[in-house]
């Protein structure tokens, strides 16, 4: 299995605060990886570093074998790694359709046109397809500010997928979404992802969601990775139970109540 993303001894210090300590991660092409950990454990810091938003204090990041250390988010996106955000990062006073069209145009070329119209028939059609794929076609002409949280997160993820990335990092895709909507949202996202053969890493607090979709789990605590492996193993790990998930019965897989 080819390694698509690799970090070596990744560290981030903010003065005395150690946000990330010696993170060694190797993710192979096609994997679906879940990242768990309580707030402040370093999950978003990890994503921010890997996508170039934050500069690591020490360490190395390799994407498809090439170093992306010090590259900007723009360059990293163009290299094939996209991400979504904890709080959906959209263009608030533009319509959902426009948001997608902008993402489309950006994916097509780093140099936008000065005179030919952005909202061409071709782009509108493609954007409408994506809206349908994500089930948010009803919000086509709504301003983002008028769109509910769940739909916003879907649009956020859709915009990340538009550029046909090789790897997708999702930062808490279901946060802010109600319990019954969570699975619906993840099903939609995972369907879209499977169609494009994308490697996925997503941060999630809901263990049910994690167990349902991933083949591997990384557990963060206080800036370190305390466990890395199959979901059943990680979620049964004593340290993980002490520090991250709590001692809850793992009823889903039927193995070992606490």
């Amino acid at each position: 299995m080819t390694v698509i993303l690799e970090t070596k001894s990744l560290n981030k210090e903010f003065g005395a605060v150690i946000a990330a300590k010696d993170l060694d991660v190797r993710i192979s092409k096609g994997e679906i990886v879940g990242v768990i950990g309580s707030n402040g454990a370093g999950k978003t810091t990890f994503i921010n570093m890997v996508t170039g938003y934050l500069k690591p204090t020490r360490g190395e990041i390799l994407f498809n074998g090439k170093s992306i250390l010090g590259h900007s988010p723009r360059a990293i996106t163009r290299a094939g790694m996209a991400r979504s955000f904890q709080v959906a990062q959209l263009f608030p006073e533009m319509t959902v359709l426009d948001n997608l069209i902008v993402a489309l145009a950006a994916a097509e070329s780093p140099r936008p046109s000065f005179l030919s119209p952005l909202r061409s028939d071709k782009r509108i059609a493609r954007a409408e397809d994506i809206l349908r794929e994500f089930g948010v076609e009803n919000y086509r002409d709504s301003l983002v500010t008028a769109v509910p949280q769940g739909a916003r997160k879907l649009v956020d993820i859709a915009m990340a997928l538009i550029g046909n990335p090789q790897m997708l990092l999702l930062d808490e895709p279901t946060s802010g979404v109600s319990m019954d909507e969570k699975t619906g949202l993840m099903d939609t996202v995972m369907n879209a992802v499977r169609q494009h053969g994308v490697t996925v890493l997503f941060v999630e607090h809901d263990m049910d969601v994690v167990e349902r979709y991933v083949s591997r789990v990384l557990a963060f605590y206080s800036g370190e990775i305390i466990a890395d492996g199959q979901p059943s193993a990680v979620l049964a790990d004593e340290r993980v139970r002490d520090l991250v998930t709590g001692h809850r019965p793992t009823h889903k897989k039927g193995n070992g109540a606490s």
Binding site: T44, N48, Y53, L54, Q86, V87, Q89
Partner: protein, 299 residues
């Protein structure tokens, strides 16, 4: 050697004046996140108030010269207090919470209004109040003759700087103000009466501006428009030092004062250029200014 001394002296005098002018601006921005374009108008109001009061005092031969210095300061305090309270309570209060840039434009509108208000109150003819300036005479420093008034300005400036610093670092109100500077939301959550803090801060800023104008009045002829020239200088100083930092304003004032003095003595055509050149240079290397705060993570 003489010209070097001249540059140092001129530079320090100009720096003290710059600090006086810029201090109020940076305090208001630090606490309220408002870059007050009308700050120059407060300066002008202070100058007009002081000049008219002192002028009246001497024209009517009321009393001894030393009282005029008290009048200068008093005029600034009263004018600053009145204008500050009226504007903060009457106008700004209604506009809080808007985009920073919008606040700048709002204060620009305020500037336009105040400029004409001054014309209405004081007319367009110049006011003179030279007595406090000339009374103190001059001192010889080597081959140079320096006005004692200008020299004392350096002292006054330092005192005010220290008082401000003391207020912010040593008093409880100062600590509360610094809390508000750091994080307004949390300060509110902790029960700080932010509205009161805003009023206090704005009035302090206004008084400082008016004081700068009042203390300058004896050295100039007070005419319409003096506030407008002052703003751009104050901005440069405050931006160099870092918005919201009093220490920064002092350092910025020194930098600009000395650079300008050097320019005036050696290459006068570059005077204005130097001030903005220094600002652009500082910003090119330290976008937040010398003592400015870097911003927290957005995502």
């Amino acid at each position: 050697m003489t010209s070097l001394l001249a540059v140092l002296i001129d530079g320090s005098i100009y720096a003290s004046w710059l600090f006086l002018v810029a201090a109020g601006l940076t305090v208001i921005y630090g606490v309220m996140r408002i870059l007050n374009m009308a700050h120059g108008s407060f300066y002008a109001i202070g100058a007009y108030s002081a000049a008219s009061l002192v002028g009246w005092y001497f024209n009517n031969g009321i009393g001894p010269a030393w009282i005029s210095y008290l009048l200068l300061v008093g005029a600034a305090l009263v004018a600053g207090l009145i204008v500050g309270v009226i504007i903060e309570r009457g106008l700004l209060r209604l506009m809080y919470g808007r985009d920073e840039i919008l606040m700048v434009i709002i204060t620009y509108a305020l500037l336009l209004i105040l400029e004409d208000t001054m014309k209405i109150v004081w007319g367009v003819n110049p006011y003179f109040a030279y007595q406090p300036y000339s009374e103190l005479g001059r001192t010889s420093l080597g081959l140079l003759k320096v006005s004692n008034y200008d020299l004392s300005l350096v002292g006054v400036s330092a005192v005010i700087g220290l008082v401000l610093w003391g207020l912010l670092e040593r008093t409880n109100t100062g600590k509360v103000l610094r809390a508000v500077i750091h994080d307004r939301e949390i300060a509110v959550a902790m029960g700080v009466n932010v509205r009161l803090m805003f009023t206090i801060t704005f009035v302090i800023g206004t008084i400082l501006g008016a004081l700068a104008g009042a203390l300058t009045a004896p050295a100039i002829s007070v005419v319409p428009g003096i506030g407008i020239e002052v703003i751009v200088l104050a901005f440069a100083v405050v931006v160099i030092g870092g918005l919201g930092s009093i220490g920064g304003a002092a350092v910025g004032a020194l930098l600009v004062g000395l650079s300008r003095a050097a320019a005036v003595h050696y290459a006068p055509e570059f005077e204005l250029f130097v001030i903005y050149g220094v600002m652009s240079l500082v910003l090119a290397f330290r976008p937040e200014g010398l003592f400015g705060r870097t911003l927290a993570r957005k995502i």
